[in-house]
C-alpha cells in the first residue's frame, strides 16, 4: 500500500509539474486561411460581342504565422448548376500576415453568357517566414478617369534601412452598401527600386470592371523582396467608421439631469480602427459645441450637462478612424427637450436597476446572517 501511495504522490507531482510547465511548452502554430463572405461575381463586356465574368473576394489569414502562395480555385456554374470550368489564381497579395486579408480576382471569358453562378472549390496556402519591410503610404487617393475607370494614385515611401524593389500596390474596392468586393487593382510604383527613405509615385487602375465612384477602397503596398525574407503590408483605409448604435439616457431629462450619450462605433476588419469620437450638441439655436467621447468597453460615452427647462438639445456623433476617414451620424441630428422636473420620471432606468441590485444584495446578506442576528 505504501508503494501505491508513493506512486500516487508521484503521479500527482508529475501532473502538477505538467500543469505548471504548460505555458513554456511551445504551442503548435495554427496555419489557417479562410474565405470571407464578401465575394461577388460581376459580368463585364470586353467590347462588341465579347464578355468576361469576374469573381472578386478576399481571404483572411486567421492563423498564427504568415502564409504565401495562397491559391483560390473557383468553379463556374451554368444555370443548372453544372460546372463549366474551374480556374485557380493566387491572391493579389503574395504574403498574408496573421490577421490580414488579401483580395483575389478570377476572370473567365464567357461571351456565350453561360455562367450564372460560382462556387469555391479549393483554398491552398503555404506557411512562410516572411518578414515585413517598412513601407509607408504617404498619400492615397482614388478617382475616375475620363474613360470612367477607377484609379488609385499616391506616394509610397521606403522607410526601411534597405532597398525595396518592385513595390506593388494592391487596391481592393468595396461596395459601401453591402461590403462586397467589387474590384481589385494591382500595379507597381513608378520607381523600380526604392532606396531607404526614397519615395515613389504610383497610379494603379482597375481593369475589367468599372468600379463606381462611390466605392470605398483599401490599398496595401508590398515589396516583392519578400522572397528574400522581406515583406510589407501597409494599409491605407478609405472606409469611414460605422456609427451603428447611439443611445442616450434619460431620454427625456429634466433641468437637473445630465444626459449620458453612448455610441457604438465599429470599423471593418480590414480598416485602420477608430481613432476618436466626438459628440456635437447645441442648445436651441446656439452653435454646436463638441465633447470628446471616452471609450468604455467598446462604447464611446459623453455626458451633456443639465440644461434649462424647455430648451431643445440636438446632438450627433462624429467619428474618425486612424486614416482620418470621417463618419457622422445621424443626419439630421437627434434631439430631446428638457422637461419640468415634476413631469420627469423619478428615477432613470439605471438608478432603478442600481437600487434593485442594492436591495438584492442587502436581502442576501440579511438571509445569510439571520441566525446570528436573531
Amino acid at each position: 500500500m505504501k508503494a501505491v501511495g508513493k506512486l500516487l504522490i508521484l503521479c500527482i507531482i508529475l501532473f502538477l509539474a505538467l500543469i505548471l510547465s504548460y505555458p513554456i511548452i511551445p504551442s503548435r502554430a495554427e496555419t489557417t486561411v479562410i474565405f470571407l463572405g464578401n465575394h461577388s461575381m460581376i459580368r463585364a463586356p470586353v467590347y462588341g460581342l465579347l464578355s468576361n465574368v469576374y469573381v472578386f473576394g478576399e481571404v483572411q489569414n486567421v492563423g498564427d504565422v504568415p502564409v504565401n502562395l495562397t491559391r483560390v480555385t473557383v468553379t463556374f456554374l451554368d444555370g443548372q448548376g453544372f460546372p463549366i470550368d474551374s480556374i485557380s489564381r493566387y491572391t493579389k497579395l503574395n504574403v498574408i500576415l496573421p490577421g490580414k486579408t488579401a483580395p483575389f480576382e478570377i476572370a473567365i471569358q464567357d461571351s456565350d453568357e453561360r455562367i450564372v453562378d460560382y462556387s469555391f472549390s479549393e483554398l491552398t496556402f503555404v506557411a512562410t517566414t516572411a518578414k515585413p519591410i517598412k513601407l509607408e503610404l504617404l498619400s492615397c487617393n482614388s478617382y475616375l478617369d475620363s474613360g470612367g475607370w477607377m484609379h488609385v494614385g499616391g506616394t509610397v515611401k521606403n522607410i526601411a534601412d534597405r532597398n525595396a524593389t518592385y513595390v506593388k500596390l494592391i487596391a481592393t474596392f468595396y461596395n459601401t452598401t453591402n461590403g462586397k468586393v467589387i474590384g481589385v487593382a494591382t500595379d507597381y510604383a513608378n520607381e523600380i527600386e526604392l532606396e531607404a527613405n526614397q519615395t515613389s509615385g504610383f497610379d494603379i487602375q482597375v481593369s475589367g470592371v468599372k468600379v463606381p465612384a462611390t466605392a470605398s477602397s483599401v490599398v496595401v503596398a508590398e515589396s516583392l523582396e519578400f522572397l528574400s525574407e522581406m515583406h510589407s503590408t501597409v494599409l491605407v483605409d478609405r472606409t469611414p467608421p460605422d456609427i451603428v448604435l447611439v443611445a442616450w439616457n434619460p431620454q427625456t431629462p429634466n433641468s437637473t439631469q445630465q444626459v449620458k450619450v453612448n455610441a457604438t462605433v465599429v470599423e471593418p476588419s480590414y480598416a485602420s480602427g477608430v481613432k476618436n469620437v466626438t459628440l456635437w450638441y447645441k442648445v436651441n439655436d446656439a452653435p454646436f459645441q463638441s465633447i470628446s467621447m471616452q471609450k468604455q468597453n467598446e462604447q464611446w460615452t459623453a455626458v451633456i450637462a443639465p440644461q434649462n427647462e424647455g430648451v431643445t438639445v440636438q446632438f450627433f456623433i462624429e467619428a474618425f478612424d486612424k486614416e482620418q476617414n470621417k463618419a457622422v451620424h445621424p443626419s439630421p441630428p437627434y434631439y430631446y427637450t428638457v422637461v419640468n422636473k415634476s413631469t420627469a420620471p423619478p428615477f432613470s432606468p439605471e438608478i432603478s436597476i442600481a437600487l434593485l441590485v442594492i436591495i438584492v444584495i442587502v436581502a442576501g446578506v440579511l438571509i445569510k446572517y439571520r441566525k446570528k442576528l436573531f
Partner: protein
Amino acid sequence: MKKAILVLISAILVLTLVSSSNAAWQRFKGVYVDFSYPTWDSDMINIENVDWQYTGEDVYVAVLDTGITPNWRDYFDKERIATEYGMGFWQPAHMVDPVTEEIEFGPVTPCSYIGSTGTCHGTHVASTIIGYYYQEPYDWAYGLGLPPIYVDGIAPDVKIIPVKILHDYHFPGYTGPAGVVFGTDWAIAAGIDYVTSLKLGPLHDNPVIISMSIGGPEPDTTGVLEQSIDNAIAAGVIVVAAAGNDGLEGMDWPGAYPQVISVGSTGWRYEWWWPGDPDGPDGPYYAFGYRYRLWWLQSGYYPYIDVAEAPDLTDDVYVSDFSGRENQNRFPGYPQELDVLAPGSWVRGPYPGLPGYSHIPWWSPNWGWLNAPIPGNFYYVGGTSMATPHVSAVAARMLEKNPTLNQFAVEAILESTALPIPPGSMTIYDAGAFGWGWYTYDWGGSEATGYGLIQADEAVDAA
C-alpha cells in the same frame, strides 16, 4: 495554356534632359501661342514643304501603346484626342506552378485608355504626330527667354485614338505569383480588332491608321495577331509598326510581317552640334550652352543648323545602330521585310513620370511632391518607336488628300518617294552605350535601310 509572348517596347534609350512644372502654363495653353516650332526630325522628312492644305484633318490614328498619360491635357488640345473612342486591353499573367514557374494568361480584359504615371511611351508617340505644348522653366532659369511654344507635329490635325495594349513600360513582363504582364499578342490583337470595328462602324467614312511602336522578338505562332492585322487591312485600315530595336539580331514582330508598313530609325549627323562654331558643322564640337537645351528645335529664335535637302541629305543621315535589320533566320518560316526609315535617334516630347519623378494627375490636389497645378515633364527618347509615328503621320496627310488609298498603295508611295540611303558609316556625337561621346555607326544595304528615308512632301504629292 495559351502561348503568348511578352512584348518589348521599342524605345531603348531614355535620358532626362529637363523637367518642368509651372503654374503659368494654364494661362496660355490652347489659347494663344505666339510661336510654333518645327524640329530637326520634321525638317529631315521635308514636312515644311508639304502642302499645308493636308494636315491630317478627319484622319484618325490609333496609337496602340501604353495609353496616354493622365495629364495629357497639359500637352494636347482636347480636340486632338478622340477620347470617345479611347480603349484599353490587357491580358494578366498568372503563375500556374511556383516550382516550374509555368505561366498562363487570363482572358483579354478591357481597361482604360489612360495609362498610369509610369507609362508615358504612348504619350510621346502621339506627340510626334500631333505636336505638343512646351514650356520649360529650367530654360527660364538659365536665362533663356523662350516663351511658351507649340512644337509642331507631323500631322497636326489628326485625331489620336488612344488604345492601351501595353501595361507599365518599365517593368518586366512578369513579376510574381499574382502576376502582371507587360503586353501580349492577344491583347494587341484585341486592340487591332477594336480599331477595325471602329473602321467598320462609326469611322466608316474616315481614314484610319494603326500606329504600333511596339514589337517582340518572336512572331505570334498562333496566328491570332497576324489574322487581326489582315482583317484590319481588309477593312481599309493602314497598319504601321516599328522595326524594333534589336539591330543586327533582326526585326521585331508585328513590324516584320511583310504586309505591315515597317519603320526603321535614322539619325542626323548634326543633331547635337552647336551651329556657328568656328569649326562649323564639319568640326567636332559639342555645345553645352543654350543650344544644348533647345537643340531639337528648328527656328529663328536661336541659331540652328538647317537640315539639308535631298540629295545632299544622304551625306548627313545615318542608320541607328539599334534599328532592326531584316534577318530571315530570326524565326524560320516568318520572313522579315523592312520598308522605310524615319527619324528616331533622339526625339523630344512629353514624358512625365519617368523614374525619378512622381508625376501626379493634375486634377488630384496635393499629391506627391509635384504639387504644381499642371506639372509636366519632357524627355528625349530614341528608338524605332519614335520613327514609327513619323510614318503614320505622313500617311495621314496622304490619306487626307486621297482617302481611297489602301495599305499597299500607301506603302508603295512611301517606298517610291523615299530617299535611298546607301550603305555606309558615320562618326557622330551621340549618347551611346558609353555615355556622351563619338560613336561610329555603320550599316549595310536594304536590309538596314529598306527603301530609305521617307520624304513627306513627295509622298503627299504622289498620293
